[in-house]
């Protein structure tokens, strides 16, 4: 019998084989662990659904396996007709390469459609999907993944006609998905959202319509993208900025003489850059195409600026290599450029982290949206005087509300807390030497 990778947890579709605990020909007991698998959640072992002899191991250490894939074959004493027991809820399907279990998508119940969505060419030899070079070239030009196209010819070879049929079917599905909107679909697609907006509000009273500016549309699109693709978590905390404010007061005029505004954001840039150096994952991005985390050896921090036209996020380069004076000057310059809409596209690109400081307007805690493909953003509210207990006494200190929103694909809760604590420690430990102009 073939033992397939069972559904491990909700949302976990695949994992990496880290350890194979049995060898071919070995006896195995029911519920005995035969393999360790690393998923995005944890490392877990896979128990055998039956007792018998391991007749074949189909996977190798380091291999990525998906739910439904055959891991090992066991010959049981009763013969090979036994199906997988319920010990693991393995999806056992008849032997065929086009049968990974259905993914979570539940479309209109169209079996044909589901079969199409689930089809994936697999070759034990690791060979590419069988198709002539001319067909492969057309698929490449159209951006069609041939592993999704079922071939009709001998050996499963994909003919041009198969590719055409596949594309026509995709188009048909696209139309079919629009059709049931009137009935109220369970999961809205972007196309449906557009439909939903086309409500006639004037039936309840007078309305006024205004075109969204290009900037507004960009912000809108990016926020939807971020919100729908990133599994994000918000981490709240507060930093004591009493002594920082005193430092700022002391040095503000000296900075002013150099034409710089010593703002709280300058300090935050400095503290965040130092913390990012200690926590490279917070400065990383996810490459979905290669399943890699891209670590950046530069620290370019975006600062959200409120302008008349809307939100603009200019990026300050190499924050780690600059002193407070330089940061203050550059921040002021970029902010002004943004407000006057003189900022270049280049100055808006390449950020590896973002700070959104609402303090000057007066906000408290808020949950910022991650600026994809970055993996974290720091939201800062207005510092407020609050009673704080220090060494058993209640004293009044100025506390700065902070919220770190982060991408859970890259950062775990513990990482995020440590990162946040380092930011706070940085904010609270500025000394006269750090601020004084040399």
């Amino acid at each position: 019998m073939d033992v397939r990778l069972p559904q491990l947890a909700e949302g976990v579709e695949s994992g990496t084989v880290v350890n194979i605990l049995v060898s071919e020909g070995q006896e195995i007991q029911k519920d005995q662990a035969f393999m360790e698998l690393e998923t995005q959640k944890a490392v877990g072992s896979i128990p055998s659904p039956a007792s018998g002899t391991v007749s074949k191991i189909h996977v190798k250490e380091g291999m990525e396996v998906s739910v439904g894939q055959v891991l090992i074959s066991i010959s049981t004493e009763k013969g090979s007709t036994t199906t997988a027991s319920s010990a693991v809820t393995a999806t056992v399907q008849p032997k065929s390469q086009e049968a990974p279990p259905p993914r979570q998508r539940q479309e209109t119940g169209d079996g044909d459609l589901r079969m199409m969505a689930d089809y994936r060419y697999e070759s034990q030899a690791g060979a590419p999907p069988p198709a002539a070079p001319s067909v492969r070239k057309i698929a490449r030009e159209l951006g069609i993944d041939l592993t999704r196209v079922k071939g009709s010819e001998a050996g499963g070879r994909i003919a041009l006609g198969d590719l055409r049929a596949y594309i026509q079917r995709l188009q048909q599905i696209a139309f079919e998905q629009r059709a049931p909107i009137a009935k109220g679909p369970a999961t809205p697609t972007p196309a449906e959202t557009r439909q939903a907006e086309a409500v006639d509000f004037s039936q309840w009273g007078p309305v006024r319509r205004e075109k969204m500016s290009a900037l507004r549309r960009t912000v809108s699109r990016r926020m939807v993208e971020s919100w729908t693709t990133i599994p994000k978590i918000n981490q709240f905390d507060e930093a004591d900025i009493t002594s920082l404010l005193a430092l700022r007061k002391m040095h503000a005029s000296a900075y002013g003489k150099k034409g710089a505004h010593l703002t709280l954001t300058s300090f935050l840039l400095k503290a965040v850059a130092a913390a990012l150096q200690k926590h490279p994952r917070a400065n990383a991005s996810v490459d979905e195409t290669t399943h890699e985390i891209v670590f950046k050896d530069y620290f370019h921090i975006g600062v959200a600026v409120d302008t008349e036209a809307g939100l603009i996020v200019p990026v300050i380069r190499d924050v780690d290599k600059r002193n407070l004076l330089q940061l203050s000057q550059e921040l002021h310059e970029l902010t002004e450029k943004s407000r006057q809409r003189k900022i270049s596209l280049e100055e808006l690109q390449g950020g590896s982290f973002t700070i959104s400081n609402q303090g000057s307007i007066g906000g408290s805690h808020f949950t910022p949206i991650i600026y994809a493909p970055q993996v974290a953003i720091l939201g800062v509210g207005q510092g407020q005087a609050k009673p704080v207990v220090i060494e058993g006494k209640v004293v009044v200190r100025t506390l700065l509300p902070l919220c770190l929103a982060y991408d859970h694909r890259v950062l775990d809760g513990a990482d995020a807390v440590r990162f946040m604590k380092d930011i706070i420690a940085g904010i609270e430990s500025f000394s006269d030497r750090d601020v004084k102009i040399k």
Partner: protein, 474 residues
Amino acid sequence: MEPIKTEILVLGAGPGGYTAAFYAADRGQKVTLVEQNPRLGGICLNTGCIPSKALLHATEMLREAKESAKRGIAFGEAKIDLDKLRAWKDSILEKLGQGIKGLAQKRGVQIIHGRGHFEASQTLRVETAQGQKFVNYEKAIIAVGSKPAMPSAFDLGNKRIMTSTEALEIRDIPMDLLIVGGGYIGMELGTVYATLGSNVVVLEALPTILTGIDPDLVRPVSRAAQKAFKEIRVDTKVLKMATAGRQIKVTMQIDKEQREELYDRVLVSVGRVPNYTDLGLEGTGVTKDEKGFIKTNPQQQTDDRHIYAIGDVSGGVLLAHRAAKQARIAVESILGEASAFENIVIPAVVYTDPEVAWCGLTETEAKQKGIEIKVAKFLWGASGRALTLDRPDGLTKLIIEPETERVLGVGVVGAGASELISEGVLAVEMAATARDIADSVHPHPTLSETLMEAAEVFYGTATNTLTRKDSSQH
């Protein structure tokens, strides 16, 4: 001086470089081709594929003439005129070199002869006989190839220690020739010199000659070489070489025993190294891989987005036809087309006697990766055409994916294997099944029938050989 402005700069005019230049020109680009040698064509034309095949063809006559006696046609003693042989060989190179030059000119490709050195990502300095020239380009394609490796311990500055480049000059026919390295270059040139009359000894550090090729394809070559050569010693390392008058004293280690021997000439054929030294790549964003070859993505683009690299200098298998394919991919990528060096079958040929050729998946690779395959073999002893050619020493095999019967690889050893393999390439590229090959009628009597017969062996229905279906299983 005003720098020259061009759209595509190609550095190196070997089979990769001139293919790239011509294709780019055919696609309407302004192309400049820089080559340091006076004759275009690169290693392949000047000191590689072409001269070696000319010599192999010429010397093959000697062997044929000798063997002919047993078939009732005897010739007298052959006379070898080395100067004439060399001149004939050189005339081919000249003809082909001029041909490439003519094709370049007709396409309007500007040729600059000189050494290229990158000044920046988009500027090349060329040291020409007329002084320095600067070329500003939009995209560059590096195709500077590779050269024979010469370990410093053997590099005594003695002309009797040769690489393939010098060996192809055939200055003389040495009485005793040692070949260090039993790869394809050593075996091909060994065949030339052994046929000309040298006592050839091949030393190979590994346990077998032609390492990496399926053992059943190597066996007929080994058998023939053992007859033609004086000796093939595997598991043997050269420790030292020293000049000893008009000979070379070679110290070698066989098992634990050291031995010293004298040779008239030594050919060092231990691999090839990329040719990028002094190119000024440090002034660009180009990076190298762990083996020292230029790193590229599947579009042949280096880490510097203005610069592409193709052929030997970009690593992988060092073959002219691979370079030419990559040339087209690089040009298409530059033109913004969807093109990638992915899942492309690159055939390989060794021009020994008999020849070996293969493409796609090999049995060796399948075994290493634990891939389940079926192998269908047809031995040439059962081929009528092979017997009429007096060449029964051959084998044709198909590597087949069991459940789909798709042909994943083809291997051939035997006379003319180099020409037979193209059908294999077509089969693998077209994802043909064994049934497709078996059902395609092949002319009789030909060696190409062996491919059809091998496919029939897979089904247990070959006409000229008795097979039970399971006997061919792997």
